[in-house]
Amino acid sequence: MSYLITQGRYVGMIAKSNNRSGAAGVAIGPGIVTTTAVAATDIVHQIPVGRSFYVLKLMWYQNTGVNMTLVIGTLSNAGVPAMVQMFPTLLALPGIPGGLNENDLVGVEFMLNSQAAGAGWTGDLYVESYAAGVIAAGVQISAELAEKA
């Protein structure tokens, strides 16, 4: 995204790394989320009530021995929540750290969409990893965020 977004329009932001704060946020070890093989369950950041956020930085690493892909997005409001992809799919090569910073990422604003199943989403940041098109575990990912309040 353009630095204009974060340094001009949205003054007073709070940057957090992998913080799961919020009404129902469950604290896990801050810093890194390691993806699991369960669909759409790997939460990276939960929006505090009334706020929204941008992702400023993403870092990832995996050493499973095969190429993997990362899907970054949020979760639908469906009864069985599904991933709503927000960024293009990322490639995670084995043994090679990867990362994108604010300049590389598009300025997607993660926010609650309270519409019912099919149209709405939570706005929380989720990640899912795939190997050969199948959900697979083992990618470490951490994110830096700027919340708008």
Binding site: S52, S114, A149
Partner: protein, 218 residues
């Protein structure tokens, strides 16, 4: 004490007058005169933030449409109080404010200005968004407009300001007497009319130094 408050100066919002100062407020087409009994800040914070989409019971604000003007409960105060506030939208909507629901603010003869996300770029302290609320049942109404060709999920608007508790001033007219020493009713009524009309000399004589405030533009 300033004769004209610097409320629209391009600087941080501060008290328009101090406790025990006198203010003269233009409201409901006349000037009323008060003494400030108490004042406190309303810091910018989440309780002073309203999501107009949620307030309207909606789930989105549709593309290129508006959410009709409506009361903002978080800004409601009681009689004998006044709020001086500034505001900004946190999402990409344009805000239109109304005195109660019938009279627009920030208006010209044929137009009404809005506050959008870019307002703070040219006006970093949001001085041009300053507005007042006087007492109960004189609430501000807020309309939001979505200028985007897509629907928006939220239309959050953030407020901040100061709340004042006011005592209405009753002018001492005991010195207004006829040559025979009786209360001069005609002259007293004329003084009260002059005070309501905001006549500066009369206000200076019977109210004292004051700060003039344009609370309502009706």
């Amino acid at each position: 004490m300033s004769e004209v408050a610097n409320i629209y100066d391009n600087g941080p919002l501060s008290l328009i007058a101090r406790i025990k100062d006198t203010i003269s407020v233009y409201t409901a087409k006349k000037w009323s005169h008060f003494q400030i009994a108490f004042a406190e800040p309303w810091p910018r914070s989440s309780p002073l933030r309203v999501d107009v989409v949620a307030l309207a019971g909606a789930t989105t604000i549709a593309a290129n449409t508006n959410i009709a003007k409506r009361l903002v409960p978080l800004l409601q105060i009681t009689d004998g109080e006044m709020v001086c506030a500034r505001f900004e939208p946190l999402d990409d909507v344009e805000c239109v404010i109304w005195e109660q629901s019938g009279v627009g603010r920030f208006i010209s003869r044929n137009n009404q200005a809005r506050v959008d996300m870019a307002t703070c770029l040219r006006d970093p302290y949001l001085a041009s968004t300053t507005f007042f609320i006087m007492g109960r049942q004189r609430d501000m109404n807020l309309e939001v407009v979505n200028p985007n060709p897509v629907a928006l999920n939220q239309a959050r608007v953030q407020f901040r300001g100061f709340r004042y508790v006011l005592d209405e001033i009753t002018p001492d007219l005991s010195t207004v007497v006829t040559p025979q020493g009786q209360p001069d009713k005609n002259r007293q009524e004329e003084i009260i009319r002059q005070l309501a009309a905001g006549d500066k000399a009369t206000v200076a004589q019977f109210i004292g130094p004051t700060t003039w405030l344009p609370a309502e533009g009706r």
